[in-house]
Amino acid sequence: MVETRLGRWPVGRRIDISRTLLISLIPYSLVPILALIGAATIDGYATKSSLVSLLILSSFLGLASLGQTFTVIAGGVDLSIPAVIGMADVVITQLDGDRWPFWLAALVILAIAAVIGAGNAVASLALRVHPLIVTLGMGLIVTGGVLVWSHDSISGSVPQWLVTSVSVIGKTGPIPIPAIVILWAALSVITIFMQRRSRLGREIYATGANPSAARLALVRSRWALISAFVVAAVLAAVVGILFAGYSGAADDTVGQPYLFETVTAVVVGGTSLLGGRGSYGRTIAGALIISQLTTLLVGFGFGPSMQEVLLGILIILLVIIYGRESHVSTRV
């Protein structure tokens, strides 16, 4: 009797660990599975132009969700991302209309975004208010501010190369893929390295995992929070500038879908909204899942409302599964 029990223990434990591993592989395996389903059921899904356009959509979402991944791991969330995307989109177009050199305009926009991001973090720290509330307010301020500044009359356009960099037929030097995808890939490599190997990267995790322990471990929590929100805002501005090339017209509401889509990409990838767990690699998978799923659902003839319903079901299903996983591994 005793022997059986002793014999069963390690086996049971191994099952626990392999289940954890299995669950962590879900987002990564969903990406090729969805691709195969698409290729098998929808004509033209596997063509180059279709795949490139899928990658462009994923790049927008992936870049917008990059900073969101950092803020969520640090224990916060950034709801001002859509406003900053809209701000960048409008301002880059407007400044072009005012005959500013493109790079100067872009630099000014990125600097403004950095200030907005730092403001989010500093206000949250100083007022001891959850970033959820601070960034919600910041989003309103930014959106309102842009409308006041531009007087609702936006004129101008963006350089042709910017348009090409986000179009299906675009090339990056000799590579037959538009620049936005290359940019996403490059930033992904840097981000993943930064999360795994840099001191600040680990400190962002520690800040989200256990703020009071972080203080006593001399983790630079303030700096970690500030950098997470600065990255989120700057990347949102980058997405906004690229959007100006994609849509060709200035629109301050262009970022609105990214409020929920960035959070969804992060969560579907398996990064915990409670902070301290997850990675950008997972968010990349999340972004690819969402853009593929959207494409598939359009292909199946579902309207936007039905797409949202199904996306919602997916989120709930995955969160239920991930919830079980975290229960096993965060036990102390």
Binding site: R199, A213, A214, L216, G276, R277, V332
Partner: protein, 532 residues
């Protein structure tokens, strides 16, 4: 072994000649109760007679609170019998205990500051829609209760926030005594009272005793037990070890019973075996005229290189505050803590980060909440202390970190599968090793630990003792809080005992017994020795 006993009140003068016995009011026998793995009560028994004031004595964790909570219906025992007024009883709910006549005053001052004295007294007695007793009756009862307790000068409509903390504590007692009671339970209810208020309360309790009512009380102050109690029940490790009658009550005897013969012997043996190290290294920590609270007596002491200083005291007596002040996590009411810098100068750290720069490391009490990052890897949890040192341009030198980890894991005999597994998968003892390793790897001069052996199994404890001793012999000064007296006596060079926010005794462990430490915990010793 002589016990330093302070001049207590004259007992004989307080005690009246033995009155006639009124018989047994309450008898509890064979009580046990577990909370998860912890067995709070094993085989506790308690007898309270009619018309007696009975004291319940025992260390922290001896099961006093559990026993009183069972009696007042807050928790239920796993097994055991309760006989109330000659009949078998089950106090399944607080209301059932109250209906029988058991009223309890809890240790915490549970009051609503914005409500009046009267409303605080009758808190919880009202039905949903009506006052149980008439308005006029309430008025009279409240006035009588506050008069008994010496608060008659307050209008009972006064909002409670206008009263001092001690007066608020008296209101919680008033809340108990307005109910029809047979047995009044006071759990550390005198801790905030001044002498006059206490004497007034004692006088009231004696009047009620004369009417045949019974009182059960606990106190951290032995002089109060000696002065007030007709009989004492001593609990140790969840079991009743003795019931002392009036003639047998002395603080020395109670302390001896609380500590237990077995423990005393063990410590005796160990202190014989113990190698007394000469502490001739330089001073690394100076505490000067430090008052932890506004009401504390200032204290001064120094810690030398290689010394292990233990901090002892009953719950909340200042030992933890002292540890926090040394690590500059909190500030004292007055006085200074200075640490020897690497250059030989003395520094007063302004905050924890500052203290750390001068070589002070801190291991908090609650590993899960304040120490570890449960979801993160063992390597990360170990590494946060050395990440600043082992990174170049913000990039971690993984190879160097892994090597340092391997060294410490080996040195501390850490049992783990993979360094990248979540730290939460380790046992409590191994988690503690990771946390200790985090700080030892930074090469501190002073390591402050708050109850590091909590939730650590016996074998790992021995390993950690060995580790701390070897760190001390290589020059690290350790300052550690512990609730385990034998542990303090075997591990430390000196033990600083705290009572009511002040240093009560500073005892070299050579030649000290656990009874001495316990006496100091109860404020019985005013002997403060410093080697300065």
């Amino acid at each position: 072994m002589s016990l330093p006993v302070s001049e207590g009140r004259n007992r004989a003068q307080e005690r009246q000649p033995a009155r006639e016995e009124h018989g047994t009011l309450l008898e509890m026998a064979g009580l046990s109760r577990s909370f998860g793995e912890t067995q709070a009560l094993k085989s506790a028994s308690l007898v309270v007679r009619r018309g007696e004031i009975h004291s319940l004595a025992g260390e922290n964790g001896s099961g006093k609170s559990t026993l009183m909570k069972i009696l007042s219906g807050v928790i239920r025992p796993d097994s055991g019998d309760i006989t109330w007024d000659g009949r078998a009883a089950r106090f399944a709910r607080p209301r059932a205990a109250q209906d029988a006549g058991v009223v309890m005053v809890f240790q915490e001052t549970l009051v609503v500051p914005d409500l009046s004295v009267r409303d605080n007294i009758f808190l919880g007695t009202d039905g949903l829609l009506r006052h149980r007793r008439g308005r006029r009756q309430e008025q009279a009862d409240a006035v009588a209760a506050v008069n008994h307790l010496g608060l008659g000068h307050y209008d009972i409509e006064t909002p409670l926030w206008q009263l001092s903390l001690a007066e608020q504590q008296l209101i919680t007692i008033a809340r108990a005594i307005v109910r029809p009671w047979q047995l009044l339970i006071l759990d550390e209810s005198t801790s905030a009272l001044d002498l006059g208020q206490r004497d007034r309360l004692f006088a009231y309790l004696r009047e009620e005793r004369a009417r045949g009512k019974s009182v059960l009380f606990t106190s951290h102050r032995m002089d109060e037990v000696e002065e007030l109690a007709d009989s004492v029940t001593v609990l140790r490790l969840g079991a009743t070890v003795a019931r002392l009658d009036r003639a047998a009550i002395s603080s020395a005897e109670i302390l001896r019973l609380m500590a237990g013969r077995a423990t005393a012997q063990r410590v005796e043996e160990v202190s014989h075996a113990r190698h007394v190290r000469p502490l001739d290294g330089p001073e690394v920590l100076r505490v000067d005229a430090l008052a932890l609270r506004k009401t504390s007596r200032p204290m001064s002491l120094t810690v030398r290189e290689g010394e292990i200083l233990g901090l002892a005291g009953l719950e909340g007596q200042g030992q933890v505050e002292f540890a926090n002040c040394v690590a500059a996590i909190s500030r004292p009411a007055s006085g200074t803590v200075a640490v020897l810098g690497k250059g030989g100068g003395w520094h007063r750290p302004r905050g924890f980060g500052d203290a750390n720069r001068y070589g002070i490391a801190f291991v908090p009490r609650d590993r899960r909440r304040e120490g570890l990052f449960g979801a993160m890897s063992i390597l990360d949890n170990f590494g946060f202390g050395i990440y600043p040192e082992l990174s170049r341009l913000g990039v971690l030198r993984k190879a160097a970190i892994r090597q340092r980890f391997a060294e410490y894991a080996d040195h501390m005999r850490l049992v783990y599968g993979s360094a990248s597994a979540p730290v939460g998968t380790l046992s409590g003892g191994n988690q503690q090793k990771v946390l200790l390793g985090r700080w030892l790897a930074t090469g501190p001069r002073i390591l402050v630990l708050n109850d590091p052996m909590r939730g650590v199994d016996a074998n790992t404890k021995e390993e950690l003792y060995g580790l701390m001793r070897s760190q001390a012999s290589s020059g690290l000064a350790l300052v550690l809080v512990s609730t385990d007296i034998p542990e303090l006596l075997t591990l430390c060079d000196r033990v600083a005992v705290f009572h009511e926010g002040s240093l009560s005794a500073l005892l070299p462990t050579a030649g000290t017994t656990d009874t001495d430490v316990m006496a100091a915990m109860f404020g019985q010793s005013t002997e403060v020795r410093d080697d300065e």
